[in-house]
Amino acid sequence: MTFSKTSCVDLIPTGLTEKIDELLSIPTAKAGRIFKFTRVPVRINNVNKYADSDDFVSIGDRSKSTTLANIITDTQQQSISPSKLSSLDVEIHPHILDISLKDQLFDVILSDIVQNTKILLQNKQYKFNVRIDFSEDREYPDWNHADVVIQIAEEDYDRVLDLWDEVSTNVEEYFNKTKIDPQDHINADELDRLSDFINIRLITGE
C-alpha cells in the first residue's frame, strides 16, 4: 500500500494536519526522531493494518515519513490496541514487536515479565540493561525464542547464575499464578506455548 499526503492526512484527527504540514516543510536535517521500528499500526476505513515507513515515502524522505508514521500511531491509540511492550523502555527485536502487535496475550505476558524482572533487579540494586531478542536455532530454525536478555553489572559469574535462578523462578511463578487464576478465559495450552517461547538470558558486560 502507498499513501499520498492527502490519504495520510485523512487518517489523522482534526488538529494534527498543521503539525504534519509543519513536518513536511522543515529541512530533512531537522526532521526529527529516527524511530527504531518502521512497522506501525494504522487504521484505514475502520480496518486495522500495518504499514512500513516505505509506505509513506511518497510524502517525503524517510525520516519525515517515519515521523509522520509515528504521529499516526500516536493518534490511533484510542482506536486500536497498541503494543504494551513497545511502551516499555527496552530495545525490542522488530520480529518480537511484530508478534506483540498481533498477539495480545503474548504482548501482555512478555511485558509483565519484563516489568517484574526489572523490579526484582532494581530491588537488589543491580545496574542492568534489558533488551528483547529473537533467537533461532542454527539446525532447527523453527525452534525459536523471545529472549529477554538481561545484561548485568556483576563480575562474579557464579553470582550471575544464582541471579538467573531467581529471575526464572519469578517467571515460572508468574506463569503458574496466571494458570491458577485465569483471567479472560486464557487457554492453558496457550500459556504453555508462551512459557516455552519466552526465554531468559543473563549476560555479563563482556
Binding site: 536455532d137 538467573w164 526464572s168 516455552d196
Partner: protein, 114 residues
Amino acid sequence: MPVSGEKFLEAADTIYKKNESREEIYYRCSASRAYYAAFHVAKKHFHLPRKTRHITVIDILKKNHRSTGEKLKELKELREDADYELDKYISQYIADKCIKLSNNIINKLNNLKT
C-alpha cells in the same frame, strides 16, 4: 569402556587449566566439552534415548527446571560458536563461563528429583 557425562566436564577443566600458552583452540575445545558434559548428564537424568535431539533435551529440562534449561540453551549456543564460528574469538573468559555453566547445570540436575 563407558564414561559418564561428568568425565566430559573433567576433560573440559583439564584442557582449560593445562592451556598455559593460552591458545584459543584449547578454549574452544574446553567450551565444547563443557557443553557435552551437561548435555549427557541431562539426557541420562531424564532417561532419554540415545538419539534424542539436543533441543528436545533442553525443552524437557526447561519444563522441569526453567533456569537450568535456559542455561543449557545458552551453553549450547556457546558450544556452537566454539565449534563452528571460526572467525569469532573464543576467549579464556568464555571457556571459563562454559565450565561454570556446565558445573552449575550438573549440580542442579543432581539435586532434581526424577
